[in-house]
């Protein structure tokens, strides 16, 4: 590590450069340097002195920190996925909200959960977390809980968000091209200005979502759910393959399996033969709805208003209900009363 390299780094940094992808700073003395929000993807800090350095919100993905001195360093909300921290001194380092995954290599005995780091993996619990302006492109977050999460202006190109819960999430101005949002719950989500071209939104729940200013060219919206409160981009023609959820709607034979339909008003709707397997209908109104022949296997019907609903030949196996007596008439019955 020569002085010229450091001088070069400093000059570029002062001039406003923040992208130092793959830079070699092995053995450098950067103690007390403020490098917040800097992009160091794939950089090499092996053996460097980074004591008290500020890497807050920095992109440190795939970065080498072997035997680096990170004592007292601020790594809060930094992206440490696939980073190598073997032998690094992390004494008094602040790591709250720093991202990691299964490929991140920590020093022996280090517990990322204890340091309050966030795991980015399928099924991750990231509700209400601040993930704005992050490069999460290609990340697999299948079935992750991102309800209420802040994902504004994030890079989510090719991200796998299949079956994830994005209820009330703020995802405006994000790059979601080629993102897999199949069966994702985007109920009440704010997607204003997001780029959703070539994304898969099939069977996604868009009830109450704000899609104003979104780019939806070549997006797959087959079987996606929307309501009168869904805001589409100006001039957008709603495809016939989407399902309009409203009182009296015709959803005959529709596949709504696994959908989160909490509090939805489907009174008088035609759901005959529909597949509602494993759906969440907590607090929904199905009064006078036609559910004849529908599949409600394992469906959550807690607090669901089924007054006057037609349950003739409805499959209620393993359905979770309040009052088993209310659903007399169903052909199969093996519910779990609350």
């Amino acid at each position: 590590m020569n002085l010229k390299t450091l001088e070069n780094l400093w000059t570029a940094f002062v001039e406003g450069e923040r992208d130092f992808t793959g830079i070699n700073l092995a053995g450098a003395d950067l103690n007390h340097w403020s490098l917040a929000r800097v992009d160091f993807w794939g950089a090499d800090f092996s053996g460097a002195n980074l004591t008290q350095a500020n890497f807050r919100r920095a992109n440190l993905k795939q970065t080498q920190f072997c035997n680096a001195k990170l004592a007292g360093a601020d790594l809060r909300w930094a992206d440490l996925r696939e980073a190598v921290l073997t032998g690094a001194d992390l004494d008094d380092a602040r790591l709250e909200g720093a991202l990691y995954n299964a490929q991140t290599q920590f020093p022996e005995g280090f517990n990322p959960g204890q340091a309050r780091m966030w795991s980015l993996a399928p099924g991750a619990a990231l509700a209400t977390k601040d993930l704005r302006e992050r490069d999460l492109g290609g990340t697999d977050l299948t079935a992750a809980d991102l309800s209420g999460a802040l994902l504004v202006n994030s890079q989510l190109f090719g991200a796998v968000l299949r079956r994830s819960n994005l209820l009330s999430a703020l995802i405006g101005d994000s790059d979601l091209r080629y993102a897999d949002l199949c069966q994702a719950t985007l109920m009440l989500a704010d997607l204003r200005g997001a780029d959703l071209r070539h994304s898969d939104l099939s069977r996604a729940n868009l009830i109450g979502a704000n899609l104003r200013g979104c780019q939806l060219a070549h997006a797959n919206l087959d079987g996606a759910l929307y309501s009168d409160s869904t805001h589409f981009p100006r001039g957008f023609q709603v495809p016939e393959t989407m399902h309009h959820l409203a009182p009296g709607a015709s959803l005959w034979g529709a596949d709504l399996s696994g959908a989160r339909l909490t509090g939805v008003d489907l009174s008088g709707a035609n759901l005959a033969g529909a597949n509602l397997m494993q759906a969440d209908l907590w607090g929904a109104c199905l009064a006078n709805a036609d559910l004849s022949g529908a599949n409600l296997l394992g469906t959550n019907l807690l607090g669901t208003d089924l007054t006057g609903a037609n349950l003739n030949q409805t499959n209620l196996m393993q359905a979770i209900i309040d009052m088993p007596g209310d659903v007399a008439g169903a052909v199969a019955f093996d519910s779990q009363p609350a």
Binding site: K4, T5, N8, L9, T11, A12, V14, E15, E17, D19, F20, T21, G22, I23, N24, A26, W41, G42, D44, A102, A121, P122, D135, G137, G138, D140, T142, Q155, F157, G158, V160, R162, D175, R177, Y178, D180, D195, H198, D200, N220
Partner: protein, 255 residues
Amino acid sequence: MDNSPFRRIVLPALLASSAGFAALTWPMTSDRAVQVSEQLPQPLSYWVDSALLPNQHKEFSIRYIGFAILSSVAIGVGTAKAMRVRQGRVQRHQGLLDQVLLADDQQEDFGGDRLPTADHRQSHSTNLAAADHDAALTATTAKAATTLDWASLLPTTPDAPAKAELASSPIDEHVLYHIQGADQCRSLALAIEGEYYRYYRNRPDLDKARRLVQQLHQQGKRAVATWDDNGYVVWVHQPERPQQAVPWLGRLATS
């Protein structure tokens, strides 16, 4: 030593501070000062007299010396700040000049063509997307003179090729898949001649895309880049055969 902060910042500050202190305390030590003070208008003349006669106005003289010390310190600090700003400006200009010279050197190395992949532009000059691509290329070329000298910062591997060629094509020309590896994680991938290239990273311009591909080559990884109206996407070769590969959105080749 010529470029040391002591010579360029500390020494001028010390000199300025000393000069300031000397100028302010000169009246107390010089005989001519009494003659000069007599010619000054009131109340300036009274203040200078008070400073010159420490026995009669001891309290004021002490205060005046304190004022002189503080003033000289302020002069020193001000000079140091000014020198630091000047030094930073000079360094920045020097850095930019070095980079311009370096870019010129590289241009000579390429025989006048700064972009080895320039031929690629001609094949797509007829459509709008290619026009955007050209604009990106031009912008990159113009920016090259003011960006960081990466050659000195990137790790080098002896076996790695000196310059990695960037194979770049429009993303629409490729067949995309969702692949699932042994770790059960899904990722978007490109299929080229039966080989899969996993999504790696988005890059805003050609220069950064090329640099990333070069870094991956140095690590012994095969990489390709695609482009669209938003920039570039770098894809890295997947050596292992995926356990599952599903065409993206159920669509196969579009071209």
